[in-house]
C-alpha cells in the first residue's frame, strides 16, 4: 500500500525507488521529531484526555492549596478538625443555580459543602480526604510501577526461574482476590503504624503484578527485535540493554498502566476504608467519609454525595487520561503489529498464556 505523500513538490523524473526516497529525505524541512514528541502531540489533540488532565489539576490544586499541606497554610479559612455550631442543619451553603431559574443565585457561603454532625466544615474535611486519596493513589502508582517494571523486565529478559516465580505469584491473585489480600495487609499496616504512607506502600506491594505481567510480555517480544540483538552483539552490558533499549520502548505500556494503577489504587483504598481495613480515624480519606456517613443518606445526603462525587471525578479523569495516553502511544495507523491493550490492574492478554 502506498504511503507516499504525493505533494505538489513530489520529485519528478526519477526512475528509481531509492532516488525517490533520497530526494524526499532531502526535502523534509520539518524539525526532527522524537517518539516522545510525537506521543505528546497526539496526546494534546485527544480532547477527553486533555479535559481530564485539567480536571485533575484543578482538583489537586484545590485540595492542596485550600486547607494547606504540612507546613504550608491554605487560603480556606476553616480547618477539618475544629467542631463548631451546626448552622441550618449543616446544609451546604453552596448554590450554583441563578436566581432567574428559581435558585438562590451564585453563592459560596460559609460552609459550601455543609457541616457534619459536630459542626466541622465539610469542605475542609473533603479536601483533606482528597489530599489523602491523591497521595495514596500517587504513592501506590509509583511503588507498583517501579516494582512491576523492574520485576517484569527482569523476568521477561532472563526468563527461567525468575519468570516462573512471577507467573506463580500472578496465579496467587486468581486464588486470593486482590481486595482480600489488600484488606489483610491493610489491617496489618493499620495495626502497626496506621499512617497513610504505610498503607500506600503496602497496597503498592500487592498491585504490581498486573503491570509486571504486561511488561514481561512486552519485553519478551522486544528482546527478539534486531536492535536488541545488535546491542548485545556489539558487547553492551545487560543493564544497558535492559535500561537503554528495552524499558524505554515499553514506556507506553508502563505509563498507561501506571495511570490505571493510580485510579485502581484510589478505588481500592476507598473500598478498604469502607470495610474498616484501610485508613482509620483520626486520619481521613474519601472512602472513610462515605463509610461514616452512608446511613446519613436520607437525612443529610451531602455528607454522602461530596466525597463520592470527588472519588468518581478523580478516578474517571485518571482513566480517561490513561485512555488518551494509550491512544497516543498506540496509534492505530501503525499497522499490523499486534498491540496489547490493558485496563485497570493490567489483566493478562492472550500472548502471555503459557
Amino acid at each position: 500500500m502506498s504511503t507516499t505523500n504525493n505533494n505538489l513538490n513530489e520529485p519528478q523524473n526519477l526512475s528509481s525507488v531509492a532516488e525517490v526516497e533520497d530526494a524526499k529525505l532531502a526535502q523534509i524541512h520539518e524539525k526532527p521529531k522524537s517518539q516522545g514528541r510525537i506521543v505528546f502531540d497526539r496526546f494534546v489533540s485527544h480532547k477527553p484526555a486533555m479535559i481530564s488532565t485539567i480536571v485533575l489539576i484543578v482538583i489537586t490544586v484545590f485540595a492542596f492549596s485550600s486547607i494547606g499541606w504540612g507546613p504550608f497554610p491554605g487560603w480556606w479559612g476553616q480547618n477539618y478538625y475544629h467542631a463548631g455550631a451546626v448552622v441550618d442543619g449543616g446544609k451546604p451553603t453552596l448554590s450554583l443555580v441563578p436566581t432567574w431559574l428559581g435558585g438562590e443565585g451564585f453563592r459560596i457561603g460559609e460552609h459550601p459543602f455543609g457541616q457534619d454532625s459536630v459542626g466541622k466544615d465539610y469542605f475542609a474535611l473533603v479536601m483533606n480526604g482528597t489530599q489523602k486519596s491523591i497521595i495514596i493513589g500517587v504513592v501506590v502508582g509509583l511503588v507498583a510501577t517501579v516494582l512491576g517494571t523492574v520485576i517484569g523486565a527482569v523476568s521477561g529478559y532472563f526468563r527461567g526461574w525468575v519468570d516462573e516465580i512471577l507467573m506463580r505469584i500472578t496465579d496467587l491473585f486468581i486464588v486470593i482476590p486482590l481486595l482480600v489480600l489488600a484488606a489483610v495487609l491493610g489491617k496489618m499496616a493499620g495495626a502497626s503504624t496506621g499512617s497513610i504512607i504505610t498503607l500506600a506502600l503496602v497496597l503498592g506491594l500487592v498491585t504490581w503484578t498486573g503491570l509486571a505481567r504486561l511488561v514481561r510480555g512486552e519485553i519478551l517480544s522486544l528482546r527478539e527485535r534486531e536492535y536488541v540483538a545488535a546491542a548485545q552483539a556489539m558487547g553492551s552490558k545487560t543493564s544497558r540493554v535492559i535500561f537503554k533499549h528495552l524499558i524505554p520502548n515499553t514506556m507506553g505500556v508502563i505509563i498507561v498502566n501506571a495511570t490505571f494503577a493510580i485510579a485502581g489504587a484510589i478505588l481500592l483504598e476507598s473500598s478498604l476504608s469502607y470495610l474498616g481495613f484501610g485508613v482509620k480515624a483520626p486520619e481521613s480519606s474519601l472512602g472513610l467519609l462515605i463509610s461514616q456517613y452512608q446511613n446519613a443518606f436520607t437525612t443529610r445526603p451531602w455528607l454522602f454525595w461530596w466525597p463520592g462525587m470527588i472519588i468518581v471525578a478523580i478516578a474517571l479523569s485518571v482513566n480517561f487520561l490513561g485512555d488518551g495516553l494509550r491512544d497516543a502511544f498506540d496509534p492505530r495507523q501503525v499497522g499490523k503489529k499486534r498491540r496489547r491493550r490493558a485496563g485497570m490492574f493490567a489483566l493478562p492478554t492472550r500472548k502471555e498464556k503459557p
Partner: protein, 505 residues
Amino acid sequence: MWKFIAKRLGSALAVLFAASLLLYVLVINSGDPLKDLRESNADNREYLMAQRVEYMNLDAPWYGRYWDWLTGASKCLIGQCDLGRNINGVEVSGLLANAASSTLRLVVLATVIAAVLGIAIGVLTAIRQYSGLDYIVTFLTFLFFSLPVFWAAVLLKEYLAISYNDWLADPQISVGTSIAIGIVVGLVLQMFLGGSLKRRGITFFASAVFVPLVLQYSLWLNFYRYPQMGPAIIIVLTALLALSATAMSVGLKEKRVLYPALITVVLVLAMYYATFYMLLEPNGWILFFGLVLAVVIPAAIGRFMGGRLRKAAMSVSIITGVAGAALTIIDHLFRAWPRFLDVKGRPIATIGSSTANLEGGFWDHFLDNGTQLLMPTILLAVISLASYSRYTRSSMLEVQRQDYIRTARSKGLSERTVIFRHAFRNAMIPIATIAAFDFAGLIGGAVITERVFGWKGMGEMFATGLDHVDPAPVMAFFLVTGTAAILFNLLADIVYALLDPRIRV
C-alpha cells in the same frame, strides 16, 4: 486434553496450598485476637481470655495451628470438613453452608450475566467502531470502572429499590412521563439497531409511539400488580421468534428450517397445557428436566427434518424451544406474583439474602430469592460487564485486522458470517483468560456488596473474621472462594483449549 486438565489442576492445587499458608500467616499476624478482652474490665476477664485461647488454640505455635487447620480442611476431600472454631467457639463448618450458597449464587449469576451481556456489547461496539453507540458505551464503561462499589450500591438501593417499592404500592405513570420514556427508549433502540438514517428514524418513531401506548395500557390492566400473559401471547411471541430466527439464519424460503421451527412452536403450546398443573407447584428437578426437554426435542426435530441444513435447523428449533419454555415459566411467575405481593409487600429487598420465615410455595420462594438477589447482582454485573465489553471490543478490533478475515471476505462471505464464524471465535480466546481474573475480582466485589446489602455470606464471614483476627472464618472463606476460582479457572482453560486448536493438537 485430559493430561492438560490434570496438569492445570495439579499446579492450581499447589498454588492453593501456598496461598493458604500465606493467608494464614498474614491473618494471625494482623493483630491481637485478645485485644478487646485485654481492654475490658469484666470480672471474668481472665476466664474469658483463657476460654478464647483454648478455642483458638493460641498456645500452639503458628505452624502447629496452621497444620491443624490444614489437616482439618483436607478432610473436606472425604466429606468430613473440620474448619476449626471461630473466636466464639462456634464450629465454622456449620456456618459455612448457608453463607457459601448465597455468595456463590450471587457471584456465579453476576459472572454469567456480565460475561454474556459484556461480550455482546463488546462485539456490537467493535462492529460499530466510532459510532455514537461506541462513544456512549465507552463513556459508560469508564464511568463504571471509576465507581466505588459501595457508593454505587447505596445509590442503587435508594433510587432503584426503594423508589420501585414505593411506586409499586400504587403504580402510576403520567402521560408525560410515558412519552418521555418512549422517546428515551426510541433513542436507545435506534442506536443499538443502527442501519441507515431512514431505518433509524422508523425505529425511533415506532418505539416513541408504541412504548407510551403500551405503558398506559399496562397501567389500565394493572399489569404491575396483576401481570398476565396466557397461552395466546406465548404462542404469538414464540412464533415471531421462530420466524425471525429462520429469516436471519437461512431465509424464510428454506422449508427445511422453517418447518421444524414451526413444529416446535406447536409443541410449546401443547406442553404449556400438558404441564400446566404440574408447574403450579413444581420443584427444581421438574424445571431442570423441562429445560432439558426443551433443548432435546427441538434438536431432534431439527436434525431429522433439516437435511443438509440440519445445523441451522437444529439451532433455530432449539432457540424456539428454549424461548417457549422460558415464556411458560414467566407465565407461571406472573400467576404467582399477586400472591407473592401479599406476603411481601415491598418486593425488591435491600437487606439480606432471603426473607426469613417466608410463607408460600415454590414460586414464592423463587421470587423471593430472585428479588433479594436482584440489587447486588445488578451492581456486580454492571461493574464487571464494563471490563468484559472493553476487552471484547479491543479483541474483536484486533482480530478484524488479521489476514484470515480478509481471506474470509474474499470468499464472498457475508459480514455476519465473517464476524461470527471467523472473527468471534478468535476474539474469544483472550477473553477466556481474563474471565479467570475477573471471577477473582467479583469475589472481592462480593465482600463489599454483602456488607452494603447486609448479607450473611462469605464476604461477611471474611470481614468480621479479619476484624477479630480470627483465622478460621477467613480461611473458610478462602477455601470456598479459592476452590471456586480454581474451578472457574479450569473451566476457562478448557474453553480456551476448545477455542484454540493450536494448544489442543
